[in-house]
Symmetry: C2
Subunit: 262 residues, 2 copies
């Protein structure tokens, strides 16, 4: 674990969405949340009001250039333009995005970095950051040490990931989480048509995830495709229409292909 924080850093947060909200809450106490800036000024005021001594700011030009860290937690496609519109910052500027290279921040400070919490945030659901890995990257060792110290303070661990690795993490999270969740939506719909719902699968879903993490998912693969059970596959396909049919067919092909190649 790197050196602890040398003093309580002053942090400005740009954005007032889910990531900004959860990070501000987690950082408060370890840092002084100095300013919150959002295009939606009402949101900025609401978020600022939760943090002692924190001011809401409407324009990027009004941000205090002397803060230790300016954290850009806005939509991915707004990061570069926000960075270009900042006053020249004396401290570290970091974004929180998995899919945006560090270069998007080039020029806005001598110290730039990435502080990417690998987690889905939604406003209603409470997120336990103490179980989350924060992936950090920075333009120099001193900036990296600062981000790591903050990450260790609020999360389970800090790990370093360059833009290439972060990109892989993000795509992997889309497959592993977003797409898996969508398959659960399809499963839920199929069950609801018969008066059941996803909850009947809960024990099986939990065991499946545990096995994938313990054995490796490739070794843990089961089911008609893994067995090459064409009779069951054909029967299932005959009962599906539309996108679920196409998804069943494509994922079956992919499992069969994996079985052959491994």
């Amino acid at each position: 674990m790197p050196d602890p924080l040398p003093h309580k850093p002053r942090i400005s947060i740009i954005g007032s969405g889910n990531v900004a909200t959860h990070l501000a809450r987690a950082l408060d106490g370890h840092a002084c949340i100095s300013q919150v800036c959002s295009r939606n000024f009402t949101h900025a005021q609401e978020l600022a009001s939760r943090h002692r001594g924190c001011k809401a700011v409407e324009n990027l030009a009004d941000l205090d250039p002397t803060v230790d860290l300016c954290l850009i937690a806005v939509a991915d496609d707004a990061i570069a333009s926000v960075a270009q519109s900042l006053p020249k910052m004396q401290g570290l500027v970091a974004h929180t995005s998995g899919s945006t290279p560090i270069e998007a921040l080039a020029g806005c400070s001598d110290q730039i970095g990435v502080f990417y919490p690998l987690q889905t945030f939604s406003k209603d659901a409470k997120v336990d950051l103490s179980a989350v890995t924060i992936f950090t990257e920075a333009s120099n060792a001193s900036a990296l040490a600062k981000l790591d110290a903050l990450a260790w303070a609020i999360a389970k661990e800090a790990r370093h990931a360059d833009s290439q690795q972060r990109k892989a993490l993000h795509i992997a999270a889309v497959f592993g989480c977003n797409f898996a969740n969508h398959l659960w939506t399809i499963a839920d719909e199929l069950l609801r048509r018969e008066g059941l719902d996803l909850s009947v699968l809960e024990p099986l879903l939990r065991v499946t995830l545990d096995k994938a993490l313990t054995l490796s998912p490739a070794k843990a693969q089961t089911g008609p495709a893994a067995r090459g059970d064409q009779r069951v596959i054909a029967d299932h396909l005959s009962r599906l229409t539309g996108l679920p049919h196409d998804i069943y067919s494509l994922l079956t092909t992919s499992i069969l292909t994996h079985n052959v190649s491994t």
Copy 2:
């Protein structure tokens, strides 16, 4: 919960694979495992040797027609032919398959049923049946009560499912478990190319499953497709080739379509 078992039933098990092995282990004590029959006689002997007083049988014709329950735990496409080759059974005959209708057992006894543990079994991994739901169906109320009593004795719960519901369960389990696991395989492969592996996603995977079960997966959906973030989608697709590309594309389309229709 139905009446407890009136006496310790005598059970024959046909098959010596994963389902047969795990069910025999779980039932022993609640029932007397009387015979094990398998085409692979060595397997049958090995399984029989684990259960006191249990005999291995090579031919279906040698099964004791007086047992209380004959459990057919063989590959789905062998169930009907096994059932047709049984001696006329005086007790209950049930199969353990999610995808096979009860009618596959027609004629082999006056009492037929289904005893379907909704779980994946593999020989190496220990399965905790006490967390598993067993779905039962039977040709009459008395047979159903017997199967329910056994299910409550060895599993978390018994629930009734007719062949139509069991089919939906099986297809839903393929989507929710087998296909989700395959997405985790793809995620693992993408991460390994960058020196990481699926374990870095563990906190996120666990939270994603918890949310899907708590909120409903449709409400819990996040990610570039759920946000309609075409820039990230295009970037991810440009980095993928082969089946992962096609799977990303199709699942993204499906999530976008769901968002529009809900």
